[in-house]
Amino acid sequence: MRTGKLKTNNGCLAWLFLGPSLLGFSLFYLLPFVTGFFYSLVDGPINGTFVGLHNYGALLKNPSFLSALANTANFTLICVPLNMILSLGVALLLNQKIQGRNLFRTIMITPLVVPVASVVLVWQAFFDLNGVLNSLIHALGYPPVDWMKTNWSRMVLLVIYLWKNIGYSVILFLAGLQNIPAEYYEAARIDGASQSQEFFRITLVYLTPTTFFVFIISIINSFKVFRETYLISGEYPYNSIYMLQHYMNNMFIALDYQKITSAAFIMAAFIVAVVLLLFIVERKITNMIN
């Protein structure tokens, strides 16, 4: 009788456990999100009149917004897949019997725990026009490159992003790999499957949930590169690394709330679309496995 009662109360109980989180979530995230949307539809945050999609239209004609949007999209499109491919590669290496595996694992994850501001000095000294990288290039007899003030700056960010994030993804992939039952591979080998077949038909398929998780973490962290960019080059970095976050920050400083909220929602729409798509793909593959 007691268990029966508990089961029917399950719903209520869930809300009790969820309560504190949900309250704060609504107050500090959901409500601001919804009011933000409202602000994007009026012409001023206080006593504004409704202007429909006018702010969005204006924003889509704004060149600095468009370039910030393109830069962010570009960066995310390059860094997220690259991070996933490289970290899967390293995870596959570490998944073999290799000496010092645990030590390698520890070293790979240290960048994640080191505060951004601590190593920014080193990055600056490395990538500056008069920096260490250029001294190497000079020693090889080539002219130096102004890494942070040319299109190369995107590469610099990519390197910093990968340095910081590969370790986390490696550990996630490693866990996923170790979770695939060895029998699957044995069965495939008996059926005469080649190594590449094993990789694509077993490893990749069964890694789907992990891959999805790594993908989400990689996206979050791709937005966090803003920290490094900001600490290295301030509010107005070189054009090609002027991200949506810079744009929104600067619009905030300029008190242009219409632009920043509309920009925020265009960005949000992109994120929702990507995640939704991935959710569907993940479900499909997971169902296929089962």
Binding site: T3, L6, N10, L13, A14, F17, L18, P20, S21, G24, F25, L27, Y29, P32, F33, T35, Y39, P45, V90, L94, I98, F104, T106, I107, T110, V113, P115, A117, S118, V120, L121, V122, A125, D128, N130, G131, S135, W163, Y168, L172, A175, G176, T210, F213, I216, F223, R227, L231, Q245, M248, N249, F252, I260, T261, A264, F265, A268, V272, V275, F279
Partner: protein
């Protein structure tokens, strides 16, 4: 023959990993070792980067480039003396970082553990949709809700107070997301058995879920700590008053000027995180591992 191939492959793999390991650890090594250098030595190594008047690129000489030197010519503690004793600002801002970070870590750990349990093990209407919302919001960069957050902080009278950062920090959905995944690993049969024995939900939560999710909770706490110890965006907007700002912003300011203490400041800044990590590495790895696997 096969064996030899295998060995060559093995050596190749280890070489790749070694190169990567050196690349990964190098920036840290430079920061730490350079913190024991004298101001003069730092200047010798980095002036081409910091002092813009001094140098423009010149073809004949390599002296115009900065260089990384791992071993100090003379080990001195002058930087540490400057940071810790001569200038009080560092300690003040270090304390600010502590005051912002600790309430967030403690608060988020409690709130997220409770919520993750509901998402992972209790059935209720709208669970999947709500969790989807949590993920979406988690993915949004800070700037997306910046304006409404700012206005709300103003309404609540929190502007220029560290609570304008702490409160949203506590309710960040990242912890819930991470913990839900690892709590799903706990077999339902355990909970079922406890229920049959007449345990209440609260007892189940305290006696089964908490001990079994320990690694996940520890990992979450460490990751939240790292993330918030690092924060740049929030204090930039919410804490105009420099006296209240955390260390991350202080460091970004001294980078341009006082190189002679920057490395010591950086080293001290990363110490809490690094020690924390080394101490709890087992949990962190285990927790991350569990969070990535789904049943």
């Amino acid at each position: 023959m096969l064996n030899r191939n295998h060995r060559i492959k093995n050596i190749l793999h280890i070489t790749i990993l070694l190169v990567l390991a050196v690349l990964f650890i190098f920036p840290l090594a430079v920061t730490v070792t350079n913190s024991f250098m004298s101001e003069q030595e730092i200047a010798n190594n980095y002036d081409p980067v910091t002092d813009k008047n001094l140098s423009s690129y010149n073809d004949d000489t390599t002296n115009h480039f900065a260089r990384f030197q791992l071993i100090p010519d003379v080990v001195v503690l002058k930087q540490y003396y400057n940071v810790l004793i001569k200038k009080t600002q560092f300690l003040f801002m270090f304390w600010n970082s502590v005051l912002i970070t600790f309430p967030i870590v403690i608060g988020q750990t409690i709130v997220a553990t409770l919520a993750a349990y509901a998402f992972a093990k209790l059935k209720f209407r709208g669970r999947n949709f709500l969790f989807f919302l949590y993920i979406i919001v988690m993915l949004m960069p800070f700037q997306v809700t910046l304006v409404p957050n700012y206005l709300m902080a103003g309404q609540l009278g929190l502007l220029n107070s560290r609570w304008s950062i702490i409160l949203p920090g506590i309710f960040s959905t990242f912890g819930v997301f991470l913990l839900k995944q690892s709590m799903e690993q706990i077999p339902d049969s355990y909970l079922e058995a406890a229920r049959v024995d007449g345990a209440s939900q609260l007892q189940i939560f305290l006696k089964i879920i908490l001990p079994m999710a320990r690694a996940g909770i520890a990992a979450m706490a460490i990751l939240v700590f790292i993330d918030n110890w690092n924060m740049v965006e929030q204090p930039l907007i919410f804490l105009q008053d420099a006296a209240k700002q955390p260390l991350s912003l202080y460091l970004s300011r001294i980078i341009d000027g006082e190189k002679g203490l920057a490395f010591a400041a950086s080293t001290l800044y990363m110490m809490p995180v690094l020690l924390n990590f080394l101490y709890a590495e087992k949990y962190l790895l285990e927790g991350i591992r569990l969070s990535g696997i789904k049943g």
